[in-house]
């Protein structure tokens, strides 16, 4: 049996990598991918930290989070396409029409 702590440490590593990717990348799509990684890390943490008494609860919650991620993907990619149609690029540095 693998200690659950291993899984938790892995999930923290993935979460931090997601945050790094979010700030490191400069285009909307990969930034959004970084957010998906963070959500996945959270899913892993949910399953890793659950005890056997409420392991099923954890799975149901992960199920909900996957649904949320899918809904966010739908709306997020629509917004990315909207931006692309206007600016013909999805680089974040072009999003500068508002200042102050």
């Amino acid at each position: 049996m693998i200690p659950p702590g291993y899984f938790f440490i892995l999930s923290v590593v993935l979460f931090v990598l997601g945050i790094i990717a979010f700030f490191f990348k400069r285009d909307l799509i990969t930034q959004f991918m970084a957010i998906e990684i963070m959500l996945n890390a959270a899913n892993l943490a949910f399953l890793a930290l659950a005890r056997s008494s409420n392991f099923v609860d954890a799975q149901v919650i992960v199920f909900f989070i996957i649904t949320v991620a899918a809904a966010e993907a739908a709306i997020g990619l629509a917004i990315v396409l909207l931006i692309f149609r206007k600016k013909k690029t999805i680089k974040t540095e072009t999003l500068n029409s508002m200042k102050g």
């Binding site: 938790f8 999930s11 979460f15 997601g18 979010f22 909307l28 930034q31 959004f32 957010i35 963070m38 959500l39 890390a41 959270a42 899913n43 943490a45 949910f46 890793a48 930290l49 659950a50 005890r51 008494s53 409420n54 954890a58 919650i61 909900f64 989070i65 949320v68 809904a71 966010e72 709306i75 997020g76 629509a78 917004i79 990315v80 909207l82 931006i83 206007k86 600016k87 999003l95 029409s97 508002m98 102050g100």
Partner: protein, 476 residues
Amino acid sequence: MNSFGAVVPLLVVVGAALIVFLLEAFLKKENKNYLAYLSLLALIGCGILSANAWNGGLTYFDGMLRLDNAALFLTFLFLIAVAFVILIGMKYISLQDANHGEFYGLLLLALSGLMIMVSSTHFIVIFLGLEVLSVSSYSLAGLKRKDDKSSESAVKYFLMGSFASAFLVFGLAILFGTAQALDIPGLVDFFKAGPDNQVLGVVGLGLVLVGFAFKIAIVPFHMWAPDVYEGAPTPVTAFFSIGPKAAGFAVLIRLLAPYWNAGFRSGKLFGFLWALAALTMLAGNLIALRQNNIKRMFAYSSIAYAGYMLIAVLAGDGAGLLFFLTIYMFMSIGAFGSLIALSRKGREYNELGDFAGVGFKYPWIGAIFAVFLLSLAGFPPTAGFLAKFYVFVAAVNQGLTPLVLIAVLASLISVYYYLRIIVYMYMREPEREVSIEMENPALYLVLFLCLYGVLQLGLFPGNVLYLIKQAVAALL
């Protein structure tokens, strides 16, 4: 009432949204107003159904749905706010090239998200409600599809919003792992028991709070707010300024209320929240000073207001917070409504320079706007004064005098930029031609109602305070 009966108010709102989406496909462009009337009807229906549950204090689905008075009071607040937003938006969306009937449907869905959030004590339900709210808000922000600013507003809101959601979810995972529960009573029991792995639990709670701080735009998690507020269609901005904020604070007091009388002010999180409140008030008001775009200025002002509300939370003053939110709703929607009044087809006047001489050219709009500005600045006898006064007094009674001093200082700073608009309206010669669309009865109705609210609550707040007392009793 059985559990089906308990969700009927929610179903009315969601059902109306679905009918709006369906009718949108068949209605001609000039008949879009019927969708607004239908939505208003649904809001009234939902209000009547919710009123039946007042003082019931019933819970359903193991506490996942909790119709206590606090939830119902906030539901009424949201119903009024959304009704106002619909009314000020009716003309706006056809003038500003955002004439999609989905505006009403998405607003109703966002409202359902707010209702879900405030009427639950289970974090999974709160999270899902928050996502319903956020997902509808992202597309509401981008509704002016031909406008670059609106699209940018949508994309920034989306990126920062889902980034914050990820923090929230990770925090929930840690909380679930340590406390083995995600309902607020279970979490409270866990933290009160004080077992060994509490450090991890506090880390989880911290991440959850960071997620919520993003959503209610508390400094330093506010970066998205100015751009989103500036770019979004103005009625939607009015909605953003009150809806998500009120729901976020509702969750916060549900979570913290059990500690108010149990060592809250010596806990680990207290200092953290104290610093955030001070930072939020000062930074929000200071940055607002150098804004020339009024919408952006209001964005920073709304950030600063989140700081004042945080004082109410720190002081353990639930009634003060609800009173503050109620008054802020009237002030904020009134102020944004006045901005909408200053617009015509395809053009909005949001720059400070546009306001020069408006007070004489359009005396009624100028005067009403001035009252809202004075209220936001906190002058008596408007409600804005009373709101701040109650919160500050409660905070001083709890020994938070330094924080109140900072808050008073921040309020004084804010007087400058609110009065600057009034000075422009009444003491400057107009620099450019401002001609506005005058025929907008729904908007004037809302302006009048908000004015009434601001004055009534400022002079005779008794009735509302009585309701709020009943609402807060459910929390403690």
